[in-house]
């Protein structure tokens, strides 16, 4: 055994701040886990078809934005709570958390306007924001993203756009994993004080860009090999189920309530 191995060493790494690495890792992980979880959502046997859900959510958001009536908001709120109550607890928590954080933030932002004499916005805007974000949350937490992008096809959105959207989500996962690895290695290699850390950040982003360009070329070659001609078709089978009927009726009722309350 060499002597230097037996010597007692007391290495105290210099304190260093690397919160930005941790924060980046966390936000990347959050995105990745969110997308992975969502790709699993297929909806049960009785679930509503995605095009109805997307249209219904959009309708609710428009009505909420137009309405000036607190009672209408209360009606929508009750419906959203009812819809939430049928979901698993973990998803309910996630949806409510996002909504409450955003609503609280808008409350803070609007607080000064209260002292300018605007009582209306302080009450209405945070509540409307909560309802809107919850509605979008329910949509995105009950529908797989491929169903949502597929549903966009029903609203005459050009194929190229849906194609780009689909690739984007897939590559957010691929490139997200890549940048996560890069961040991990930056963290592992930053023992003690690493002064070159900040410039590594641009290296990570730069590498990410170069990799994404390579990936894009590879992907096109792969697509061409499989006979891709540049057009993109979404195949759909569509049956109107009882759940669809109920969903459409509820939203028709909201239009009626909106008109009635004015």
């Amino acid at each position: 055994m060499p002597e230097w191995l037996l010597k007692d060493e007391n290495y105290q790494p210099l304190p260093d701040r690397d919160t930005f690495i941790d924060k980046s890792i966390l936000s990347l992980l959050r995105i990745l886990s969110r997308i992975r979880a969502q790709s699993g959502y297929t909806g049960g046997k009785y679930s509503v078809h995605a095009p109805w859900k997307v249209a219904g959510t959009f309708l609710l958001i428009v009505l909420l934005s137009l309405s000036r009536n607190l009672w209408f908001l209360a009606a929508v709120g009750a419906y959203l709570l009812a819809a939430l109550s049928m979901m698993p607890a973990e998803r309910i928590l996630r949806i409510l958390k996002t909504g409450l954080v955003i609503a609280f933030f808008s409350f803070l932002v609007l607080l000064p306007s209260f002292f300018m004499g605007n009582r209306y916005s302080l009450v209405m805007i945070p509540l409307k924001t909560l309802a809107t974000v919850t509605a979008v949350g329910i949509l995105s937490h009950t529908t797989g993203w491929h169903c949502v992008t597929g549903a966009l096809k029903s609203f005459f959105i050009p194929d190229i756009f849906i194609f780009v959207l689909d690739i984007t989500i897939k590559y957010i996962v691929l490139l997200g994993e890549l940048s996560l690895d890069l961040f991990y290695s930056l963290k592992l290699r930053s023992v003690g004080k690493n002064t070159g850390k900040y410039s590594s950040l641009s290296g990570i982003a730069g590498t990410l860009f170069l990799r994404s360009k390579e990936m894009a070329e590879d992907m096109y070659s792969a697509m061409e090999c499989r006979g891709f001609t540049g057009s993109y078709r979404v195949r759909r089978r569509f049956r109107f189920t009882a759940a669809d009927f109920l969903y459409v009726m509820v939203h028709a009722a909201f239009i009626a309530i909106f008109v009635y309350l004015g």
């Binding site: 995105i31 997308i35 808008s106 209306y120 805007i125 809107t132 959207l165 940048s179 641009s202 982003a205």
Partner: protein, 332 residues
């Protein structure tokens, strides 16, 4: 800068959405012409890159972190038209799946961050790069372009917020959407962007560009030469648009009345409830008169100030580039 729903009226959202549609149409057409079908997946991958860029936390002094938007960077790397599509798709995913930015206000967000930001940033970069022909000129263009790009986008968002209380109020005079007039919205949005976000954006853009240029110089988008003509058009349009936005400030003063604003200052400061970004907002009144030329109508004053400002900048860049040429001449 992601505008959530219910801050802008549906009418504003529809108008801005309608303004973005032709931009998308032109972008798709340009992209189809500029990049071959072989590079079509690049649009999607560019969008995911731009999405992930916003996940990168950049360290700020004081231990906090912020994030860049990267609109100008994408425009420099992929071209402004591809950047427009990529950022739009990234924004759609944020709105649809992550509750970040509204669904109705998607058009407004795209207008600010997918149209104004990359185009203003890119054309300023291109303009300076073509005038000051050296590596320094290129980086100067990147820094100024990305800094002005993000601030132009923030200004647009601020104007969109600020016109809400003028246009949409109920019978009792209560604002129905964002209640802050331009005099509050503009400084509240611009001060943090001028001081912090713009600096982050510029530094990040320049650093990544430097890296890519060093590692793989061939991948950077080469815009056509005649593009610099477009920047004159853009500048002209911006000059003409300045009073349009600021015209509303004039109406805002008329409608809100100086006494009301005085009240805000005393109440707001006395109570100390003002969120950070807004704290400095109320002193805006003092800054404004600098931009209007006394004795002539306000609108004309704004146009004059804008023309003069742009002219001064052009003159400075002309002089800088001519000095460059002269020193080259001496060396040769």
């Amino acid at each position: 800068m992601h505008i959530p729903d219910n801050y802008l009226s549906p009418a504003t959202c529809a108008a801005l959405g309608a303004a973005v549609v032709p931009v998308w149409a032109v972008s798709v057409k340009k992209v189809k012409k500029e990049i071959t079908r072989a590079k079509m997946p690049l649009l999607g991958i560019g969008a995911s890159f731009s999405f992930l860029m916003m996940m990168f936390n950049v360290p700020l002094p004081g231990g906090t972190t912020g994030h860049a938007v990267g609109g100008t960077l994408l425009a420099i790397l992929l071209g402004p038209f591809s950047a427009c599509i990529s950022v739009s798709v990234a924004l759609l995913i944020q709105a649809l799946f992550f509750g970040d930015g509204g669904i109705l206000s998607f058009g407004a967000n795209c207008f600010n961050m997918a149209f104004v930001l990359p185009f203003v940033g890119y054309f300023i970069y291109k303009f300076i790069k073509d005038r000051v022909r050296s590596e320094k000129g290129e980086y100067l263009g990147i820094v100024i372009g990305s800094y002005i790009g993000i601030n132009a986008a923030a200004l647009c968002a601020a104007i969109e917020f600020g016109i809400q209380p003028l246009l949409f109020r109920d019978a009792a005079g209560q604002a129905l959407y964002s209640p802050y007039p331009l005099s509050v919205a503009i400084p509240a949005m611009l001060i943090p962007h001028l001081l912090v976000a713009g600096v982050v954006e510029a530094a990040f853009t320049a650093a990544i560009f430097a890296f890519i240029k060093k590692v793989s110089p061939g991948t950077i988008y080469e815009g056509a030469k005649e593009k610099s003509k477009a920047v004159y058009g853009l500048l002209a349009a911006l000059i003409l648009l300045t009073p349009l936005g600021l015209l509303a400030t004039g109406t805002a003063w008329g409608e809100w009345g100086a006494d009301e604003i005085g009240e805000v200052v005393s109440n707001g400061k006395a109570l100390g409830f003002i969120p950070q970004g807004m704290q400095n907002g109320f002193s805006f009144e003092a800054m404004m008169p600098d931009y209007s030329v006394g004795g002539i109508p306000e609108v004309a004053g704004y146009i004059l100030s804008a023309v003069a400002g742009v002219a001064v900048l052009l003159i400075v860049f002309k002089i800088v580039s001519s000095l460059k040429k002269n020193t080259h001449g001496v060396h040769e």
